[in-house]
Amino acid sequence: MASRQYATFEVADQLFGVEVELVQEVLSFHEYTSVPLAPSAVGGLFNLRGQVIAAVDLRVQLGLDRHVLDGPVMNVILRGDDEPVSLLVDRIGEVIDLDESAFEPPPDTLSGPTRDLVVGTFKLDGRLMLALDVRTAVDTYRVPA
């Protein structure tokens, strides 16, 4: 049975995961430059070794309050199509091996902004991990329904 590796992280106590090969690196960063007039999901810009990276606030994408950006916040930096883009998350989890058999489509009862961002559910011991649709998650121009 095929298995895949997922990098996991938490937002509002829910465990999320993205396929590990999409992740460039994970790091904590504390200085963000806000971008006035940008969509609300844009947390800010930061300097990653000379490169300017946009951070997308996953909390906002999930319909929650923004991250407070006056201290360190964890970034999951994803290899984007053209340039890296970062997701601001609450906490970083482990990288886990997951068996395809543990995968299920999102439950029908899942609705709201989260539903748009999730492609499936993985059943772990004791908790569920939602697999993120990375493209939608970093799309700052989508308006949560």
Partner: protein
């Protein structure tokens, strides 16, 4: 095979360079028909192309260049004179070569480019001239070896001309072009000595004479010292090519980026060391500072190319266009050697060509008109380039009829760009700048009236995009000068760092004219009917509050700074909280997701490592309605005030439908999408697309508004509305802009599907009746129970 590909590649690259030079030389030859040096150079270049194409088995190319070479050899040997018709034929021959090379570059083969017509006209040139020049031919030393035209296409690839006429056949080999050319060959070509003298001298060398070829020829009295000196000089000039190498541009770009990083690291270090006050460390840092600056300069130099590269195509453009318009135009170029970053050269190319065309087309009068005005029948177009304070200035000056300010003003009023009463406040230069307004250029008749206009707004936009500026200066009857100010490089700019609402922003220094501190006592911000202004030396300067423009918490009017900026043809002041410092910053492209905001030119990393946004001063001016006249600004200001009382200002999406501009309130818009036409399906009478697991009904605004538009687009732009889980899409021709400002004037109209018209960005714009448009797409959109078939939970 691989190797051959490389040879072809090299050949293409070199021929490309050569062709540009040929264009220039041919046009120069037309001016100076007697120049042996020019003819020889042209001949040589064509000969090289011919030789290599024969070697690479591009037979059409070879036949074509062979024909050209034959004609050229007759010109060189004086068998027939250089006439404008010969030049035209030769230029046509070059175009044929270009077309062939382009096909070879694309497909690796010559394809089916038809060169017969050009070859025939080359032959016609030769046979036409034969009658007249028959008598002259026998007197020449070199026999006219050009065979009858008919035999050209048919037979051998043997380079016929070289059998009888110099140069020596050794030039057939493609590999000798990089090295120095043999002196003997050059002397033969310049006509100083004969082939047999060289053969004799070479024979002497073979037999053990250790003197150099030139020395032998001189000392044996075969050649004049001046001729040998000249040839030696030319030979040395050529060998400069040996000391240069070709470098991949990507590599240069990488180096440039690295130097950018180094500049950044240096800035950080300098800042850090200043705090430690360790003298030894300070010295080292200063040294590092110096080296970095030099390195930066050096790397920048590698990317610099003389503007001549850009100008080289222009003599041909001017010649062709002048001929087409029946005008006589002389092109003068000054400062060819002025250097610019190559990426900028590329960016300036089209605008410059446009300005030159415009000047020939509309600026310079016909010979008759010029004579009537007491001017030289031949007009002069002067291109001038020079460095000035960290910038390159490029001028396009004609001595034509000049810009008629009254006509420009009248046209601007007719086009609705401004109201007649606004003209009283404008000086002539401000009025002339109107030719760069987008609305000015749309109608063809405007070009006839004003003499200029088509695409001038595009010129301006393109130049401003690279951080440059355009100015116009004109004297009626005496001519027009357009002045482009271009930064030396894109990657590193001089910038002013300012602070506003606690964040730092970067303003390109090029736009900054002066700084004024507002203490609230002797210098203060005043309000003209709500619009902030500052009295700068007696004149009112309109102000833009950066915090307000960026939708940040608005600060006070005291202890602030006004940065006097010049952009978009307007002078205005930007109010910020603090001015921090000026430094060189490395421009980083801003991710595409912020492009829609439009107020940022990029981002940069400041000395302390934090990211700062670089403001796009021109769009800030536009956004703030500064491009409009003072009266307009008042209207905007009062509308702003009114809006401030009632709620937030309108955010409008401006869409193009046919030739109309339609404004859609942005708060009702969910998404902007593009679909390929093949995704459109039909459901009954309606067009739909599948979108995010929904069936999305489409309504074409062009139908709704009764506008004719082209339907052959491959993609359609749509504006998606979503409400209670239902979506519809309105099809527009294109999304023009998003404005986050006020509507300055409204008028009700009773047109179907419209709420009224308004002036947005100084253009008449129709306000869409969104509800009606939605109902056109989906009549049930507003009914309470959505059809469960259409909508996913």
């Amino acid at each position: 095979m691989e190797e051959l590909g490389e040879i072809v590649h090299e050949f293409l690259m070199e021929s490309h360079e050569n062709l540009d030079q040929l264009d220039r030389d041919l046009v120069a030859l037309e001016q100076e028909p007697g120049s042996r040096e020019l003819i020889s150079r042209i001949f040589r270049t064509i000969h090289t192309i011919k030789g290599t194409s024969g070697f690479l088995a591009f037979s059409r190319l070879e036949t074509l260049t062979h024909a050209g070479e034959s004609l050229l050899s007759r010109l060189r040997d004086g068998v027939q004179p250089v006439t404008p018709e010969t030049i035209t034929t030769l230029l046509a021959m070059l175009d044929g070569v270009r077309a062939l090379l382009a096909t070879i570059e694309e497909s690796g083969a010559e394809g089916d480019i038809n060169v017969e017509g050009v070859i025939a006209s080359v032959h016609r040139q030769m046979s036409d001239a034969t009658g007249e020049s028959d008598a002259a031919a026998p007197q020449l030393d070199a026999p006219t070896a050009v065979p009858a035209p008919e035999s050209f296409e048919s037979d051998d690839a043997e380079p016929r001309v070289s059998l009888d006429a110099p140069p020596a056949p050794t030039r057939e080999l493609p590999d000798d072009k990089s090295g120095r050319r043999p002196l003997g060959e050059m002397l033969i070509e310049s006509g100083a000595i004969s082939q047999s003298d060289v053969t004799w001298a070479v024979q002497r060398q073979v037999e053990g004479d250790e003197r150099k070829l030139g020395t032998i020829l001189l000392e044996e009295g075969k050649a004049a010292p001046a001729a040998v000196g000249e040839a030696l000089q030319a030979q040395n000039k050529r060998s400069v090519a040996d000391s240069a190498i070709r470098v991949d541009v990507d590599l240069l770009d990488t180096l440039m980026n690295l130097v950018g990083e180094l500049v950044l690291a240096r800035n950080q270090l300098v800042r850090g060391v200043a705090e430690t006050a360790d003298p030894a460390l300070m010295r080292t840092t200063q040294r590092l500072n110096l080296i970095t600056s030099e390195l930066q300069e050096g790397i920048m130099k590698t990317r610099m190319q003389p503007i001549e590269h850009l100008w080289s195509k222009l003599p041909r453009v001017v010649r062709d266009l002048a001929n087409a318009c029946g005008k006589q135009v002389k092109l003068v170029m000054e400062g060819k050697e002025t250097e610019l970053d190559r990426s900028l050269l590329e960016a300036v190319k089209d605008p410059l060509t446009h300005l030159v065309r415009n000047a020939v087309d509309h600026g310079v009068e016909t010979a008759a008109e010029r004579l009537a005005a007491g001017k030289d029948p031949e007009g002069t177009l002067t291109l001038r380039a020079y460095h000035e304070g960290g910038h390159v200035t490029v001028e396009v000056a004609d001595d034509g009829c000049g810009i008629n300010v009254d006509r420009v003003a009248r046209t601007a009023v007719e086009r609705g760009l401004l109201r007649p009463e606004q003209l009283t406040n404008m000086d002539p230069r401000e009025i002339m700048m109107l030719i760069f307004q987008p609305g000015f250029s749309t109608a063809a008749k405007v070009t006839n009236v004003s003499g200029r206009g088509v695409g001038m707004d595009v010129v301006k936009t393109n130049i401003e995009r690279i951080g440059g500026a355009v100015e116009v200066d004109s004297t009626p009857g005496a001519g027009t000068t357009l002045r482009l100010t271009i930064p030396l490089t894109l990657a590193i700019i001089q910038a002013l760092t300012v602070e506003c609402a606690g964040e730092r922003y970067v303003v390109p220094q090029v736009a900054v004219h002066e700084l004024v501190y507002i203490d609230g006592q002797t210098t203060k911000i005043e309000y003209a009917s709500g619009a902030p202004v500052y009295r700068l030396r007696g004149k009112l300067l309109p102000l833009v509050r950066l915090d307000r423009a960026l939708d940040l918490p608005v600060g006070g009017d005291q202890n602030a700074y006004v940065i006097v900026l010049q952009a978009d043809g307007r002078r205005f002041g930007m109010v910020v909280d603090r001015v921090l410092n000026t430094e060189e910053v490395v421009v980083k492209a801003l991710t595409a997701r912020f492009k829609d905001i439009g107020l940022y030119a990029g981002a940069t990393i400041l000395g302390d490592g934090k990211v700062a946004l670089i403001l796009d001063v021109a769009s800030l001016a536009r956004r703030s309605h500064l491009a409009a006249g003072p009266a307009e600004r008042h209207a905007a200001a009062s509308a702003l005030e009114a809006a401030a009382k009632t709620g937030p200002v309108d955010r409008l999406l401006i869409a193009g439908v046919g030739d109309r501009r339609v404004a859609i309130p942005l708060d009702t818009v969910t998404r902007l999408e593009e679909f390929t036409v093949d995704r459109i399906e039909r459901a009954g009478m309606r067009e739909v697309v599948q979108y995010r697991d929904q069936i999305l009904p489409l309504a074409r605004l062009s139908h709704l508004l009764g506008v004719m538009t082209e339907l052959d687009e491959e993609r359609i732009s749509v504006v998606v509305y979503t409400e209670r889980g239902r979506s519809v899409a309105l099809v527009v021709d294109k999304i023009v802009d998003i404005v986050e400002d006020t509507v300055t004037a409204r008028r009700e109209v009773d047109d179907d599907g419209l709420l009224g018209t308004a002036v947005v960005q100084q253009r008449v714009t129709e306000l869409l009746d969104v509800r009606r448009a939605i109902l056109a797409a989906d009549p049930n959109f507003y009914t309470e129970l959505p059809d469960p078939m259409l909508v996913e939970a």
